[in-house]
Subunit: 416 residues, 2 copies
Amino acid sequence: MALIVHKYGGTSMGSTERIKNVAKRVAKWHDAGHQIVVVPSAMSGETNRLLGLAKELNAQPDPRELDMIASTGEQVSVGLLALALQAIGKQAVSYAGWQVAIKTDSAHTKARIASIDDAKVKADLDAGKVVIITGFQGVDEKGNITTLGRGGSDTSAVAVAAALQAKECLIYTDVDGVYTTDPRVVTEARRLNTVTFEEMLEMASLGSKVLQIRSVEFAGNYRMPTRVLSSLTDPLMPLEEEATSGTLISFEEDTNMEQATITGIAFNRDEAKITVLCVPDRPGIAYQILGPVADANIEVDMIIQNQSVEGKTDFTFTVPRNEYAKAMQVLEGSVKEHIGATSIVGDSKVSKVSVVGVGMRSHVGIASQMFRTLSEEGINIQMISTSEIKISVLIDEKYMELAVRALHKAFELESA
Amino acid sequence: MALIVHKYGGTSMGSTERIKNVAKRVAKWHDAGHQIVVVPSAMSGETNRLLGLAKELNAQPDPRELDMIASTGEQVSVGLLALALQAIGKQAVSYAGWQVAIKTDSAHTKARIASIDDAKVKADLDAGKVVIITGFQGVDEKGNITTLGRGGSDTSAVAVAAALQAKECLIYTDVDGVYTTDPRVVTEARRLNTVTFEEMLEMASLGSKVLQIRSVEFAGNYRMPTRVLSSLTDPLMPLEEEATSGTLISFEEDTNMEQATITGIAFNRDEAKITVLCVPDRPGIAYQILGPVADANIEVDMIIQNQSVEGKTDFTFTVPRNEYAKAMQVLEGSVKEHIGATSIVGDSKVSKVSVVGVGMRSHVGIASQMFRTLSEEGINIQMISTSEIKISVLIDEKYMELAVRALHKAFELESA
């Protein structure tokens, strides 16, 4: 018997029929003697419907009012799930974020959780109730409703699990775990039984969008064992089987013997690169280039500046493809002349492919194996960037699938 | 310049286009220098949609969870209206019931307001903001969300107006005021410029469903001048004209010279009557009959018990027609034998027609005028019941329209 947190996404909560299935699954865990806290998302489509209404009324909506509106989607979900559980004989009680004091900062639409008061929840659990808490939302110091940003229900679930010192946080979703790479690109892709927190961070940020990245950070900060598993299985499947399915994000490096060298191949198709040519190599130049880009709210991913030659250097970075035009405009508009660059060149049809794995730390030769594999396929590497547990390369987007498949094979990821 | 509370119903909030019209109307009042608090209902259809989902999951839903779910409809409305006001240049802020501490008891789905903390609202108003507060909902002592029952937004608006000591509470609705009787029955029905609180109570409870009866009680308790007016007029019509339109529920009897004798003809088509024959005339008999009926949650309207003859009496009461079968079942099931009644008879096709007016207090002859009129039309009176300001009769439902028209004419209500 343990305290377990379940999180269900919008698809799992998408209709009353599906909500009944969630209730059955939760009841099964409760019947087995566990204390269960559930954090469901809004019914699929609901948040978009609400934000759509808001946009019709105001093109630049006040974030505080957006939170007021959007937070209702999760409130409906928790009430409905409580009713579904009660209908099958379980005691259940629902809470909005403010009712169990999920305190956040005041950054409306992207607030961060500061604290959770667990007294009420513990008392309900001890009384034998299933407790259902809204994801995605909290309340700031002044009593305003805040939301955590899209996908924030994952973060809420992990935060609640950490506050309650749960044994495990189960994230039920429409994929059945984390794979060595995207199965749609490589059919031989294999589901990982465990990944380390650091690997998951790299996988998530590199485009394997199984979990919201902040929820992984949260799990890491609190060392909360978090499992990603399928919500599409039979809700009455044997609990022992379900409890070991999916992929566990683990914080015990020693037990993670499965991955000898690398864990998976991550990729991001929609990148664009921009190079500022012949900029003077002096302190502050990177800030002078990227400051205005950041001010325009454009996310920057890879950044590379090579050794300078004769006091001049080339400065390259990547941005999401849909921000490319805006970024070029910002640079051409004011930055170029200001820093004295000769010209700015870009390419909006590049993709990033990364090899990820904690095993990489102690193994030489991963990089050379990666570069040889790409070379054998005739794929030119445009940029390279490395961290302790990953190596990323930027390539022409038309070779992306080919590169992922070749690397998956070269590192023998199809077999455990 | 004054503090005014506006209340808008679900139809007025039914689409983003209509919400924009509400915003224009509110802005007009604010532009004229008034402090404005708005209490909007959920968008029409929304509360039914939410309760429908709940019913699909649980045939006997927990009232606490129903409130959790249903209260979201109003929360969406306040946020959307704030955005619509901001879009036309007004400062506006929205609050859920718990955020401005609309404290209620814990009677979920039909809670009663205990207190409102006005500090936050006053500060916002003084800062020049339009304040928008959810109708229909509050929070109990333990921090649970409560709702006031269907139509509760009217009550919220009047309660907020009373707490803020507003000058007037304007209830915008899809009718343009209170009429001498239903214009669908009598085309000559005339809109009243003012009605007294007592008359309005009788009109509302007798089936002129312009306002929720509890909101009228609230207005009475706090002597809050409350005006019913149309939300279907041009939102930009001159403010002076709008401010005197509709019907004002007044608390100044002396100024109410308009109604010399009677104010209007109210009616309720869907009644059913039940008579328990030959019951012993002893203390406690009324309770023994009506106690089990009340326990079955059946509303009782008229109650008549006449002088007893030889220690026996007949006891008659009316119930809503759709509760008739249930009420008969309750009486036949246990009550009849227990009290020693000879038999129970009933008629589910009766209607109630009432003549209402504070002027009646000081005028003899109203009753005889009423009975003569009905007699001249050949309408048999089955039951009579009177209060200080109304006389009600129960008649065969097929004569209801005829009775209303004849009485409207007899009391010359078509002309002021």
